[in-house]
């Protein structure tokens, strides 16, 4: 059950999180400006909506699934080579 859940969770490492966040922000900013300009130049509001929807879907596809690029630097936990003795 736990393995199934972790597969669906889509975890990525820390460097990958930074990359994902910056990519998502860039795509959204570029997408917003581009859809505004497209609509204004063609004087058609529907084009703005469609362009923004395309950028939105693009953003979701790029960032949400855990691609290999986001898991390139996995976190290395320290291994335990000492045992702790309990002294009464």
């Amino acid at each position: 059950m736990d393995q199934l859940v972790s597969k669906f969770e889509g975890n990525i490492d820390f460097k990958g999180q930074q990359l994902a966040e910056s990519v998502s922000n860039t795509v959204l900013i570029v997408g917003s400006v581009a859809s505004c300009l497209i609509g204004f130049v063609t004087q058609n509001v529907k084009l703005t909506c469609y362009a923004f929807a395309i950028f939105l879907i693009l953003d979701l596809v790029i960032v949400v699934p855990p691609w290999k690029q986001y898991r390139a630097n996995p976190v290395r936990f320290a291994t335990s080579n000492r045992s702790i003795e309990v002294v009464n």
């Binding site: 859809s35 505004c36 703005t48 923004f52 953003d59 949400v64």
Partner: protein
């Protein structure tokens, strides 16, 4: 940003913020376009207005207790070009013809609509109507129009895709006198 769900939630909130910014840009830029086109006051010509006053006795025409109520209909010519009001953010323009007149001292102001039209495309925005008839029969809050004078004006309401609704009216007006009831003994033929 650790799990896919968190990334999805983060992106959703960013998308909503972006959508709000885009809406603001659309609304403000289209308002600027309209302002430059002087949307509040455009020229239009109302001409050759012929009015007919009849007596009606049913509730659907304003009559109370089957008392006679004067109803007015008009036919008019209209020349107007409101294509300046159309830009990417215009969903529709609602044009209507209004008549403004005074009443008794206890009724300081009256304004009625004789005709209206919905225009959704810029191609339909050049109006060149001849002998256009009023959309409905108009009655006053009093029982009779008493052959008063009224000012006819063309007004419009711009409905955007996003943003505030805007109103405007034409420069000048047409002076109309409500005629006597058709067929009454004192009316001239």
């Amino acid at each position: 940003m650790f799990s896919a769900l968190q990334r999805f939630q983060g992106i959703s909130s960013n998308v909503i913020t972006a959508a709000i910014w885009i809406s603001l840009f659309v609304a403000l830029s289209s308002y600027a376009q309209l302002y430059l086109n002087e949307f509040r006051s455009l020229p239009a010509v109302i001409d050759h207005v012929k009015a007919v006053t009849t007596l009606k006795y049913s509730r659907g025409f304003g009559s109370r207790n089957r008392e006679p109520k004067e109803n007015s209909r008009i036919a008019f010519d209209l020349t107007a070009d409101i294509s300046d009001l159309f830009n990417w953010n215009t969903k529709q323009v609602f044009v209507y013809l209004t008549a403004e007149y005074e009443g008794q001292p206890s009724i300081p102001a009256n304004k009625v609509t004789f005709w209206n039209k919905i225009i959704t495309k810029k191609e339909d925005a050049v109006l060149n109507l001849q002998k256009e008839r009023s959309s409905f029969s108009v009655w006053d809050v009093e029982d009779s129009f008493r052959q008063r004078n009224a000012s006819l004006k063309l007004e419009w309401n711009i409905q955007p895709h996003v943003g505030l609704l805007l109103w405007g009216e034409n420069k000048g007006s047409y002076e109309l006198t409500f005629p006597e009831v058709k067929g009454s003994s004192s009316a001239s033929t």
